[in-house]
């Protein structure tokens, strides 16, 4: 692989960052939520590009470089960008295809599990799927819900190895019923995940490089992309717990009409 490729990609991200308006006092002026999200994505994208660039350099030095890892990192970065643009489309209702439909939460979590396996392996995270129990269909935008779950899970997978706890890191994609509806979420042993941390992160993202300092060493863009997609679907991301694990989830309303059918 040509090592220049990584450097070119990094320059692209730096130029996106440079295009954000900066005033005389060097304060970044962020006019809209989408610009804040764009800055968060630009910051986040540095990570996979750096990883790919350095991985390629290792290969050019004659040391072992794993092309499967490069593929996994690139695919994960692509799915984050896809999630971002889907969020924009959903928020602007740009397409007739973005209508809600009858969705099985279990099948969404199963698909997410399949897509996240390689990333979890790369980060030495054990991925679990907890979709036991019969829950009826819910009304949601299928692609949007899948992109939100993948964004959340990717952000947490990347954050897990840096957590102080020494035990094997596990991420669980799980669903359970609560009194408000059916919860779909991602759970791990990160005690830093709290409502306060999420609230603070929402205020800081786009302004701070590391808005979720208790959770992640990155900009945590996956979490904010999920937030934006869910908001477009009139849903909210909450801090949630599942079997002694901390996590982020969304409460979905079962459709009684669809259940009867």
């Amino acid at each position: 692989m040509n090592t220049d490729l990584g450097s070119i990609l990094l320059l692209q991200v730096q130029s996106i960052e440079g295009s954000i308006v900066v005033d005389d006092s060097s304060n970044i002026q962020l006019n809209s939520v989408s610009q804040q999200l764009l800055l968060s994505i630009a910051e986040q994208m540095k990570m996979p590009l750096l990883q790919i660039s350095r991985q390629a350099e290792i290969g050019s030095m004659g040391l072992t470089s794993d092309f499967t890892n490069i593929q996994t990192l690139a695919e994960n970065a692509l799915s984050l960008i896809d999630g971002y643009s889907l969020g924009l489309q959903l928020n602007r209702k740009l397409s007739y295809e973005l209508e809600s439909e009858s969705v099985s939460v279990s099948s969404i979590l199963y698909d997410a599990d399949q897509q996240l396996k390689a990333l979890a392996r790369l980060y030495n995270v054990q991925l679990e799927l907890n979709i036991g129990g019969k829950y009826g269909p819910v009304l949601a935008h299928k692609k949007g819900l899948l992109a939100a779950i993948i964004g959340l899970a990717s952000a947490i997978i990347e954050a897990l190895p840096s957590q102080p706890d020494e035990t094997q890191k596990t991420l669980s994609l799980a669903t359970h019923r609560c009194r408000y509806g059916i919860v779909a979420g991602v759970y791990a042993n990160i005690p830093g995940i709290s409502s306060d941390a999420l609230k603070r992160g929402r205020k800081l993202y786009g302004f701070s490089r590391q808005p979720l300092v208790e959770i992640s060493h990155t900009s945590g863009a996956g979490i904010f992309v999920a937030d934006s997609i869910l908001k477009a679907m009139k849903l909210n991301l909450h801090v949630s717990r599942h079997r002694r694990m901390y996590g982020l989830g969304v409460v979905l309303q079962p459709s009684s009409q669809l259940t009867m059918v």
Binding site: S7, R54, P164, E214
Partner: protein
Amino acid sequence: MTKKILLIEPDNVLADIYRNGLSSMGLNVISAYNAQQAIILADDESPDLVICELQLVDHSGVEFLYEFRSYADWLKIPIIILSIVPPYEFSCSQIGLKRELGVESYLYKPQTNLHRLLEVVGSTLNS
């Protein structure tokens, strides 16, 4: 004798890559993913050089460096910052980083390839 490097890098994919590169120079690399692990490893392994990211989970890297320098035994261990945070954000405190924390070099990750990192590590260890 093989020199020992303490690498504090929260991203384990990048940590593996840097570890590979530095090991190819014949260095013994020990990795910490967070500040707490770094203090324990520094205590156990007595490194000859520390390479540190500033964006750590639950800690600012600068906060960690102040704590690190508060131990008399570690006052003279050279520190290289290898960070995703651009150096212009520290333009006001560059002197502080050098004088108070004894930071030898500040390397911005997107503009520092492995070759450059190995060069800086080599010259720091030899000086």
